[in-house]
């Protein structure tokens, strides 16, 4: 009897010791500048829902910041895919053990249901899915997408748009709804991603927890919480006090402070490049910007190094190419925008019939940057640099919504923009082809239109490279825009934490730009 008692006591001690050795749950609190509108990411573009949506839901294919190292798209639910010779038919093989958070398996039917609904309801990812002619499901784990026309960039574009929308919804829970904006799962999402939804009351944080049944190894973070912190300074104070583990780039500290942060051993400063640039768009429909000499002169008037020093404490990378460093395979290093040369700029403006008049001004022009800190500080410098050659440039400020609709209506002289060069270089068409969705400059070039269309339909890489290099030559010749800097994001992370989507240890395993699958808290690997 006594023996049993001793044995029991020993067991109890062991149990208690094991329990004590268990680590406290690792919680990652992500601050956001606002709260989500809903937790159904597919029906509208809702920036504060990208985070929760990307971690609760899976995607067919994904893309994360690994794009800057060259990974254009990788499989999330898709294990692999094959493209037919004419690039019109893509066959995806899906992971067989993926499950929704309610235990039901994820099949190709769910993917087809999601994409078909998006197309039928004209939701935002239609921008990419409009290329789809038909989606077929030969068996539960095979999905065939047939395109209307050959389109080499389809999978990378699908991966890119999956960052924001096109998350895979469970068919069995959404079938009864007309779209993705009604029903019980709009704000109580059931996905198949690395985190499960726990709780969200409006005005309170969104709480997620690690999904133990994820089809990949469970995340090292036990709990993921999205908290609305509208004030940038408060978020920074919370970070300094150690209550936030990292500050996303929306809360980037002023670059002038970065040197001090880099000296602090408790803080890790991460710079992440991207496949976007920061540049100036010139409205070709407005005189005197319709004159190529004037556009050349403006390009000559810009001193990118001074701009970098003044606007970014010298921490960004100026670029005079019509491409970006992260697009290594496609950049044409022989095609450059006119270099800084004030005398040449003045000379060209004289030639254009715009001599300095009374007061020393040649003509007046407005510069309207969007409400981004980087664009604003760059354009403040650009305005001064243009004034130095006799262009009476003036800064105009609008709120983001007004700026955006003015740009869409082509109601601007000069505009600071964020030209995209990837994931597939077919992006040039969106910006520079006649009628392209982001061709706010009213730029037209027949040769560019023809060869860009051709390049979007061929799969031979060498031939495509040749075409895209030619396109860059045409763009720097005509100067509908002037590239200035490679975009760069600044994130600060508490020492000991790693694997964030913005740093190399998180590339290609974050499952979207907003995914935290590979984050490792201190002491866990």
């Amino acid at each position: 009897m006594k023996r049993i008692g001793v044995l029991m006591a020993a067991t109890l001690v062991t149990v208690a010791a094991t329990a004590g050795a268990q680590q406290a749950p690792a919680t990652l609190v992500v601050p956001q500048t606002g709260e989500p509108r809903t937790l159904s990411p597919n029906f509208a573009s809702d920036p504060h829902a990208f985070g929760p949506g990307s971690n609760v839901y899976s995607h067919l294919v994904a893309m994360d910041w690994g794009i800057v190292k060259g990974t254009a798209a990788y499989g999330d639910l898709a294990k692999s895919w094959e493209t037919s010779a004419d690039t019109k038919i893509i066959t995806f093989k899906l992971h067989e053990n993926a499950k929704f958070h309610d235990g039901k398996p994820v099949t190709a039917h769910d993917v087809k249901f999601t994409y078909d609904t998006i197309i039928r309801k004209k939701y935002p990812s239609l921008a990419v899915l409009k290329s789809v002619k038909e989606i077929r499901v030969p068996d539960d784990h095979t999905l065939v997408i047939e395109l209307v026309e050959p389109e080499v960039g389809f999978v990378p574009m699908l991966a890119q748009i999956s960052n924001w929308t096109a998350k895979i919804y469970p068919k069995h829970l959404w079938e009864g709804q007309d779209g993705f904006e009604t029903g019980p799962h709009v704000n109580a999402p059931i996905g198949s991603g690395p985190f499960k939804f726990v709780r969200w009351e409006r005005g309170q944080p969104v709480e997620l927890e690690a999904n133990a049944d994820y089809f990949r190894p469970r995340t090292a973070v036990d709990r993921l919480v999205y908290r609305a912190v509208p004030d940038v300074n408060v978020a920074r104070a919370e970070f300094d006090a150690g209550r936030l583990q990292f500050l996303p780039y929306d809360y980037a500290p002023p670059l002038a402070e970065v040197a001090a942060l880099q000296r602090d051993p408790r803080v890790k400063v991460v710079f992440t490049p991207s496949h976007f640039s920061r540049d100036m768009q010139l409205n070709l429909a407005r005189p005197p910007l319709d004159n190529p000499l004037v556009r050349q002169a403006i390009a000559h008037s810009i001193d990118r190094d001074a701009m970098n020093r003044l606007a970014f404490a010298g921490l960004w990378t100026p670029s005079a190419y019509a491409s970006i460093e992260s697009q290594k395979d496609w950049i044409n290093r022989d095609a450059k925008f006119p270099a800084f040369d004030r005398a040449r700029a003045e000379q060209l403006l004289d030639q254009a019939g715009l001599p300095r008049r009374e007061g020393g001004w040649r003509f007046a022009i407005t510069v309207a940057p969007p409400n981004f800190v980087d664009c604003k500080s760059m354009m403040e410098v650009a305005v001064q640099q243009m004034r130095a050659v006799g262009i009476n440039a003036r800064l105009e400020q609008f709120d983001q919504a007004t700026w955006f609709s003015r740009v869409s209506q082509k109601n601007f002289d000069i505009n600071c923009y964020f030209t995209r060069y990837g994931p597939d270089p077919d992006a040039y068409r969106e910006h520079f082809a006649t009628g392209g969705g982001r061709n706010f400059m009213s730029y037209q070039d027949k040769e560019l239109d023809e060869i860009a269309l051709k390049a979007s339909m061929i799969s031979d890489k060498a031939e495509r490279q040749k075409i895209y290099k030619r396109i860059q030559e045409i763009v720097v010749r005509d100067i509908p825009y002037i590239n200035l800097m490679n975009e760069q994001k600044t994130t600060i992370i508490r020492a000991g934490w790693s694997g964030f989507n913005v740093e190399e240890s998180g590339f290609d395993t974050s499952y979207t730009w907003f995914g935290y699958y590979s984050v490792k808290p201190p002491g866990r690997s």
Binding site: G34, K122, D231, V234, A237, E238
Partner: protein
């Protein structure tokens, strides 16, 4: 009977006031540049989707028709659906009211009591060193921008000496019910209330001081003094009641802003109240929510001014309704 008629009349006046508020604000929102449907649809949307969004929200209709539809809808007691969350606007606003009432109400109540008390005390010795010091301090507090003061409080009590929380209304792992919940919320309430109070408390100190000092010069006070009542008793029993009228006026004005007066404070402290809802709605051009909030505001302003008049009549027998 006369009082009841008066109140009824004042409530009826609400209808034309609200109508004017709606029409003016509807016009103002539409005058603001920028296409709401583009904002709703996200950047560079598909033209077909954009059209779909316009139709869905009735944004493709002419302005007057949109206004008329809205008026009819509000007339039937429906504030519509939020563009952003697709939830009824009424629910969105009601959900946020308790948090705001708690924050602004606490701050306002404390400001009135503390401010009037301090003001009345220093009024007993006008021109003394304490009076000058407190009066100068009050002007300073009144002039401090509330968001800046909030940030300073956070730096002091949340970062340097981390004893008070700076974000939200409750702790992530705090108790969800019972006395623990109350204490948790109270803990979160300290800093935002303090920063809201700094602005208004100075105002009440100044007003209470001036009006008490004025009343103290009246001949009836001289009489009670001559009888030999102690100063404290004179202020509390004879001077304060008459001196309270200007305080009530200011309180009435501020009461009208009780729902929306804390936009900056709520933003700094991530407080889930109506102010932050309005702030986010304005950024997103969520017209139905903005309009709903304006209606709620005009109703509270009207009710507050009615309440002020009633209190006035009770305090001052010379005022009749």
């Amino acid at each position: 009977m006369r009082l009841r008629r008066y109140v009824l009349l004042r409530i009826l006046q609400l209808v034309p006031v609200t109508l004017v508020v709606i029409v003016l604000n509807f016009l103002l929102i539409h005058l603001a540049p920028g296409d709401i449907s583009i904002i709703l649809a996200g950047e560079t949307p598909d033209p077909a989707y954009l059209q779909h969004v316009r139709e869905m929200y009735g944004l493709d209709r002419p302005f007057l028709e949109q206004l008329w539809r809205y008026l009819v809808q509000v007339g039937s007691g429906d504030l519509g659906m939020s563009f952003r969350s697709r939830q009824p606007v009424f629910d969105e606003i009601i959900d946020r009211i308790p948090a705001t009432l708690l924050l602004v109400g606490t701050a306002m109540g404390l400001s009135v009591v503390v401010g009037t008390w301090i003001g009345a005390r220093i009024a007993r010795r006008p021109g003394s060193a304490v009076d000058s010091l407190v009066s100068a301090g009050a002007v300073m507090l009144f002039s401090v921008p509330v968001f800046w003061f909030g940030l300073m409080l956070i730096l002091l009590f949340s970062v340097q000496v981390p004893i008070l929380p700076a974000m939200g209304m409750s702790s992530l792992d705090g108790p969800r019910e019972g006395i623990g919940r109350v204490l948790d919320v109270a803990h979160h309430l300290v800093l935002p209330v303090l920063s809201l109070m700094t602005v208004s408390v100075g105002q009440y100190i100044r007003i209470a001081r001036t009006s008490v000092a004025e009343v103290m010069g009246e001949s009836y006070i001289t009489t009670v003094r001559a009888i030999g009542f102690p100063d404290r008793r004179i202020v509390q029993h004879y001077a304060l009641r008459n001196a309270l009228l200007p305080v009530v006026t200011v309180l009435g004005l501020q009461l009208g802003l009780i729902l929306t007066g804390a936009v900056l404070t709520e933003t700094v402290f991530s407080w889930p109240g109506l102010g932050r809802l309005i702030y986010e709605a304005i950024l997103a051009r969520d017209t139905p929510v903005i309009m709903g909030a304006f209606i709620a505001m005009s109703v509270t302003v009207a009710i507050a001014s009615l309440a002020t008049d009633l209190v006035y009549a009770a305090l001052d027998p010379r005022v009749t309704l």
